[in-house]
Symmetry: C2
Subunit: 85 residues, 2 copies
């Protein structure tokens, strides 16, 4: 039997790294033009809820994945709000 | 004590619906210009791994969330590949 956490950490690496190119692009260009604030707010709230779920079911991979994803999304949201000001 | 599955289904609704505006935009415009195929391939593989993880830990919310997300991502990938041909 496979330890589910191995699969969880593979999944975590993949879904987390999918956000990285967007974050790098913002970091390099210093703008977040064209990005939808509402999409990232919904995604951020969702990620925070998954983090809470991970804590409740005590799943290390769900906790780690959503901590990292939430940090990246928070970075993107900060840039979108800043570029609107 | 809160049933973790309630939180899981709230999280599932949020992270799944974050993909919907993009899918609707593609459906309406019939093009997927400007979207990164590699990002969606990574996201799709990640979602499929989370689905497998959900089956292993027998978590209804993780299974449902990733089934729906994977369907939406597959739709987006199909359009990106079609618009490249």
């Amino acid at each position: 039997m496979i330890n589910p956490e191995y699969i969880g950490f593979i999944a975590a690496t993949l879904t987390t790294s999918a956000f990285l190119p967007q974050a790098f692009k913002i970091w390099k260009s210093k703008t977040a033009d064209g990005l939808s604030l509402s999409m990232y707010l919904v995604m951020g709230t969702g990620t925070l809820s998954w983090l809470f779920y991970g804590l409740l079911i005590e799943s290390p991979s769900v906790i780690v994945a959503n901590c990292i994803s939430f940090s990246i999304i928070l970075f993107i949201i900060t840039f979108i709000i800043r570029s609107k000001m």
